[in-house]
């Protein structure tokens, strides 16, 4: 279980997260929605320990994340903007993450095939397109078969085939009980990939609801309309 207890984070005068509390059961897939600068990425980065909250606490499996970095062994992460050192090859970046995580064997091979990265592995990173770097980032996030996935706009800049591969992998992970936290602006993907949504607005969770419950309120099962209707009631 992932728990946020009254987490607050300020950047100067801007409050990115304000007293955020929630508990996410294991095996739940949640979409973090909200306008730009509403605190979605900050929330994910707080969970990863990349950003230190000014107040509050975060626990994973009941253990405070400040205790030790070993909890991150359980987390696969796809950042919003994947950048790697320009003069290394894609294969070397994969090797580095494998070694840091203590992974052995060809754990990355199935993902390299799914994301069709075979021909890109020997190329230096500077020669890879933005989409290809995003695929590499997906391989890095998935190959450790972690039980938590933290994905920051994972579908951005992926081509249709890679997008399908990513969605297939997320379906497989959901079925195997993986906990998924994902930010997205693509509302059409939410019903397919998520059980619950958090809608963040000005650093607070303005709406936390099950996707199925939201869809039940909409005509023709349109998620975007259901979400907007519910937000009008709340905000």
């Amino acid at each position: 279980m992932i728990e946020f207890h009254n987490v607050t984070k300020r950047f100067g005068k801007h409050t990115a997260l304000q007293d955020v509390s929630f508990a996410l059961q294991s095996g739940t897939s949640v979409a973090l929605l909200g306008p730009n600068a509403s605190g979605k990425t900050t929330l994910l980065k707080c969970l990863l320990g990349l950003i230190h909250p000014d107040a509050g606490a975060i626990t994973v499996g009941g253990i405070p994340i400040t205790q030790s970095p070993t909890y991150r062994q359980r987390i696969g992460y796809m950042p919003q903007h994947p950048h790697f050192p320009d003069n290394l090859r894609a294969a070397e970046v994969i090797e580095l993450v494998k070694r840091v995580r203590g992974l052995s064997g060809p754990v990355e091979t199935p993902y390299i095939e799914r994301f069709q990265l075979e021909s890109e592995l020997a190329k230096p990173i500077r020669a890879l397109s933005g989409g290809t770097r995003q695929k590499l980032s997906a391989v890095l996030a998935f190959m450790a078969e972690t039980d938590i996935l933290v994905l920051d706009e994972p579908t951005a800049s992926l081509d249709p085939l890679a997008l399908r591969a990513l969605k297939d992998e997320l379906h497989r992970r959901r079925a195997s009980g993986c906990t998924i936290m994902m930010t997205t602006h693509t509302l059409a993907d939410v019903p397919e990939l998520s059980d619950e949504i958090f809608f963040l607005f000005e650093g607070r969770i303005a709406l936390h609801e099950r996707v199925a419950d939201l869809l039940a309120t909409a005509q023709g099962n349109r998620f975007d309309e259901a979400l907007i209707g519910r937000l009008r009631q709340r905000l």
Partner: protein, 260 residues
């Protein structure tokens, strides 16, 4: 292999392929070769080379430290999302960045020295040690500034200001002090001030091994007395070590506390 060595190994591989480092090493090699072959006597060439080391090495190291952090921000973010201690990552990144840069200088002027000078090996050792120290200090300060200020321009501005202060302004201040207070016994005070500037420390430590030190008169004799013996050399090494540890501690503190 522990994670620190994994990061170091990776950083070294990254640095070895850096065109920027290759360009730096190549330029130093060409410059040193020209100075040694066309710089007159060995001592003249060494003094010219000393100026190159004192001006260029800290500046390049400072800029390299800023660039190394600011260009790797997203990658550091990815690495910090792995089960790694921040301190371990910091040491891996610093050592991987600073070690190749520090070694490139003594190698670049060592080759023409070996072929052209073939003497003054004590001076070479001091210059090599000094350039390594100045590189470590500069890289650590550059990293500390890049970690302190997210705005790359501001971080670059601060590094150039620091370089200007230590490499240019400091000497001017000492000169003004020396002229203004020439009627007073200020030599001991100047000796203390010497330890407040690592660039000056390397300059004096190198000059004292050359005949040029005689030109410094009473001050030179005093420096020779305090810095030129074993205790002085140890004190100089300790001061340079402190100068390295200070920015490293600052950079480490920023790295551990920083929001990525």
């Amino acid at each position: 292999m522990n994670t620190g060595r994994i990061i170091l190994d990776f950083q070294l591989r990254h640095a070895v392929r850096s065109r920027w480092l290759l360009l730096y090493g190549g330029s130093l090699l060409v410059l040193t070769t020209l100075l040694i072959w066309f710089g007159g006597t060995a001592e003249h060439a060494v003094v010219s080379l000393l100026n190159v080391v004192l001006l260029l090495v800290p500046l390049i190291a400072l800029l390299y430290g800023v660039l190394g952090i600011s260009q790797a921000r997203e990658f550091l973010e990815l690495m910090l999302a792995q089960p790694l201690e921040r301190r371990v990552l910091f040491w891996g990144v610093f050592t991987g960045m600073a070690a190749p840069l520090a070694l490139i200088v003594p190698v670049s002027f060592g080759i023409p020295w070996l072929l052209g000078v073939r003497q003054l090996w004590g001076v070479y050792a001091t210059l090599a040690g000094g350039s390594i120290a100045l590189t470590l200090i500069g890289t650590a300060f550059g990293m500390a500034f890049a970690l302190r200020w997210d705005d790359r321009l501001r971080a670059f501005g601060m590094t150039i200001a620091l370089w200007f202060l230590l490499a240019v302004v400091y000497d001017a201040v000492i000169l003004v002090l020396g002229i203004t207070l020439r009627d007073y016994p200020i030599e001991h005070g100047l000796l203390v001030l010497l330890f407040l500037n690592p660039i000056d420390l390397v300059r004096v430590a190198t000059l004292l091994q050359l005949d040029a030190a005689a030109l410094l008169g009473y001050t030179g004799a005093l420096l020779q007395h305090f810095v030129g013996n074993i205790a002085g050399i140890m004190l100089t090494i300790a001061a340079l070590l402190l100068w390295t540890l200070l920015p490293l501690a600052l950079a480490m503190r920023s790295f551990v506390r920083k929001d990525f």
